[in-house]
Symmetry: C3
Subunit: 419 residues, 3 copies
């Protein structure tokens, strides 16, 4: 778990480098500033309030809303020595979940880059990570009503990725596209500053996913974790392949950006069911995610929804797909109170395979809809309020000249040899 | 083991950044495309066929060829719940070995960069990872005939690195050098796009080697693993020093590129015997590897064999050296069936040191030759067939202008501030 | 522990990228050369002599100086099989501590960059890592006199960071500022080559700190380690925030460089007491460190002390602060020989909280002063001797034109598309 926490932490560097790589050089510092502040705000906010909202031990299972009070509550009076024993400590749990929480906000940052006011973004992050994410998350992972319903989301295709993705979609709708992105009905390419940075980011995210999904087993059980790592990796691979072939077919080009987003799409897609989907089906779930991420990106451009890094396509589209895929391909072994395998009829059987039950497609659909509606409406409302108060968009002049020179006073790259 | 798998995974990012750093800016996207696809193809291919070829449980120990059928075969019927119990699960083993397999192909990619057709490279990778690597590997790690012979290769100086290196050598022979690399008998320098990227890559590879060698202990035994990490690190250090001094002596320059390749040389060199060579000898094995990598690079240039990143010198030359070094410096404790230490005479002794036996130089030589011949001839044959079918080299115009603009339509770096 | 070792190793890549990112493009290769050689020299030196100086098992507790002889001494005669059993092996301990040792030298490298002679730096590193660092370190971690005094330094705010920081201060005093850094009493900005590289570095350092602090628990005790990771992370966050607000207030700018150094400041600050300071106080310790790092950087510039990356402010100023903070906020549970908790009166109590005792401010002060004086005077003496023997500063011409073209013959970045 603690190793997984370190791996999930490194995802924040992954997001930072992906976004800096895909963003234009004139906005590099601004993008990095956002991505550096996001885990900071995420961690502190989750410490102050989020954790107690997401895992309220005082609420009855099946609740809609629970809150334990500010700061993570420990068993004993003193923070230094207090802990919950078990397979992992409550502090480990806090840190692992805090890293997840910040992920949801980071997803938004990539979509709204290159024109959002930094202050507006930071306030949004504060509210989104502090309130929206943990309340939605508590419905499932805090043993709330979606959990009682049988909704299944192993490591957050819905709770983390689609929640972030819905926030990103709300953001780009309220913000509008970058100046010069859509001209005369055509999409204008805005080349990113560094493809190597983007590749570094995607590999670090893949690495982080080993922690994201592997750690979500919430134990060191080697059987479960090893299967999860295999399904996760295979889906990443076929996600990349699916996107490569789709882009080759549609654009007649070996599109590295699409392959990279395809890998992420496969990872997001398998996240909901990494432990209940077989490796063969993981290949399929990933491949379809890779196709969807390209189609989704094209569709968004059709509606002039300008998503700088493709965050909505990766995290929302494939987060929804992955969650529904659990209802199609997912099987879960059922055990009784003694830990013995039982089949659907309730009889004790000897192997997990005999005890496997399909997961419910309709529960998955309800979960997707409920979390999606809540996240989207909340994010939309926050952005609208910010728009008419502090403002959410930089001036056209700042946007054209780049945000680095105006808001930060330095350039992302200074590669000069002649003095 | 699972942590090691994550570390070995990150080696693929290491290779990607080393190659992008050492390669010219006009080919950055192409290089990264190859390096992103390599682990993808490697993993999927190893899943479909390679693992069953490399670890055929149905073959008698000492075999030449074995095959379990497509897909990794598990103990039970259903993939989701099936596993092999023991110190690690069969899924962990699969993923760890799949990461290794893809490494062999990645080694080739660095050597043949900047002029190979992407399609030819991808087909080569498919065959090399799917068939050549696992068959050669099965001879030792799958308990085949080299294992029966007493050949020792702890973590793959021969099975992974020299196999990849022979493939790279075959590739650069068939391809020929880049245009303008050798002019009037002189070697023309082609500066890489980013030295920082190359440094990132080498450090990530070193990190990954902790997993590569540490994980090859195949258990969490802290004594064995900690010794392996020490020998690995010390050899990396003296590899860097050996290359630094050699380059300083030969070129009168503090050559960072050579230091970086020297570190990798030391790592490759110690890989075959990281668990049976003492730390003091590890210093020596690494230092010699560092000298050899520089001499080898100079020798290749003499024969107009153009290796963009020095992959042949690092992985082939030092892979061979490391494997033979086991026959010179390697000692291994012998135990009887009860796990007691026994000396060469068969008497029970109390310490591992008394039970230590030298490993055989001639077995090492046979292993090096057999694996080398198989890998080189196979790779040469594949490249020749590709040359006369799909073609293996891009047009001279594409090569001169860079492959990024032609095959991918984007540039690796777009650092512009004036609109 | 072994995983922590891998994480601490990656800190060296973090330092390399931070320094390459903050340094000017014309010196990138030189900076990377130094940072690549530093862990190499550090490891080899620590193997040859440092480890035996730092952990002399033959010296009586409370000693001033002890030495076990060259090479790490193992229990048995043969290195390959010898180890010390317990929670971790002696080889693991060696490697973990060797990574720390090299860290102290790396801190110096960032401050003295862009004008120091490579040879002088390498000789300094050899002596500093081989002699100064282990002797100072032995006073506490080797159970020397500071340990007997009750001085507390969990993971090295003083022993690693401030020791490195004092070395850096000595270096920049003896060297003098870069040409053109202070003109007519004004500070001239020298923009670094790549902000993304610097961000990569800081995130990798943060990641490495999980190992640095987490591994310093010297056991896998999940309660202790998880608390340490939480305090470490929270201090990093508020360090970044403290620096951001201070810089915003003083310079009226969202200064990413300061935020990054603030994160490091928070990490350095919490390092001395990560296991004995509660999460709430960790927030405070980090925040104050973030303020201090900005004030310190401004103060150094006032005295024309030119520190390229802010190493003195981060590691010395905040290392001292963090060590003293232990004497203010630190509480430690006391146990008797049976492992039962006892309170100050010596009575057995049931919880760690009841057994908590404040740590001594005066012991902390003595430790800070003793280690500081020793490190500074030693480093100053080494640099002075080097100045009047091999020389420590490159020629003004080399400095102006950049060290890469003169000492290494290559450029850090070659991003050219038109041939």
């Amino acid at each position: 778990m603690m190793i997984s926490t370190a791996l999930v932490f490194i995802m924040h560097l992954g997001f930072a480098t992906v976004e800096a790589g895909f963003g234009q050089a004139k906005n590099t510092v601004n993008i990095l500033f956002k991505n550096t502040l996001t885990p900071i705000i995420g961690l502190v906010t989750f410490y102050l309030i989020g954790f107690s909202l997401m895992y309220p031990r005082t609420a009855e299972p099946g609740f809609f809303f629970g809150f334990d009070g500010f700061f993570p509550q420990m068993n004993e009076g003193d923070q230094t020595f207090a802990y919950t024993s078990g397979a992992y400590t409550r502090w480990t749990d806090f840190l692992f979940q805090a890293m997840f929480a910040a992920t949801a906000a980071t997803i938004v940052s990539g979509a709204v880059a290159e024109r959002i006011k930094l202050s507006a973004y930071l306030i949004f992050t504060l509210i989104f990570v502090g309130l929206v994410y943990p309340i939605v998350g508590s419905w499932k992972w805090g043993t709330g009503w979606l959990d009682a319903l049988g909704f299944y989301d192993f490591a957050g295709s819905t709770l983390v990725h689609s929640v972030g993705g819905w926030g990103a979609l709300a953001g780009i709708i309220v913000l509008g596209p970058r100046i010069g992105k859509y001209v005369d009905g055509k999409v204008v390419d805005k080349p990113g500053s560094s493809v190597p940075l983007a590749v570094i980011g995607v590999f670090l995210l893949w690495l982080g996913w080993f922690g994201f999904n592997g750690g979500s087993v919430l134990s060191g059980d080697p059987e479960a974790v090893s299967l999860v790592l295999v399904t996760t990796s295979l889906a990443a691979c076929t996600g990349g392949l699916g996107a490569m072939f789709t882009a080759l077919f549609m654009f007649n080009r070996l599109d590295l950006g699409m392959v990279l987003n395809g890998i992420l799409a496969g990872l997001v897609g398998i996240t909901a069911g990494a432990d209940v989907i077989s490796p063969n089906y993981a290949l399929l779930v990933g491949f379809i995610a890779g196709i969807l991420v390209v189609l989704s990106a094209v569709a968004l451009d059709k509606f002039h929804l300008d998503d700088v890094v493709g965050a909505v396509s990766v995290h929302l589209t494939c987060g929804v797909w992955g969650t529904l895929a659990v209802g199609i391909f997912g099987f879960k072994a059922i055990t009784n109170d003694n830990g013995e395998f039982i089949n659907a009829a309730g009889n004790v059987v000897s192997t997990a395979a005999e005890a496997a039950n399909a997961l419910s497609f309709s529960s998955q659909l309800i979960g997707v809809a409920a979390c999606g509606a809540t996240a989207f409406i909340s994010a939309f409302a926050i952005f609208i309020v910010l728009k008419y108060t502090v403002g959410i968009r930089v001036s056209a002049e700042h946007e054209r000249q780049g945000m680095d020179s105006h808001e930060h006073g330095i350039r992302g790259y200074t590669i000069i040899y002649d003095e």
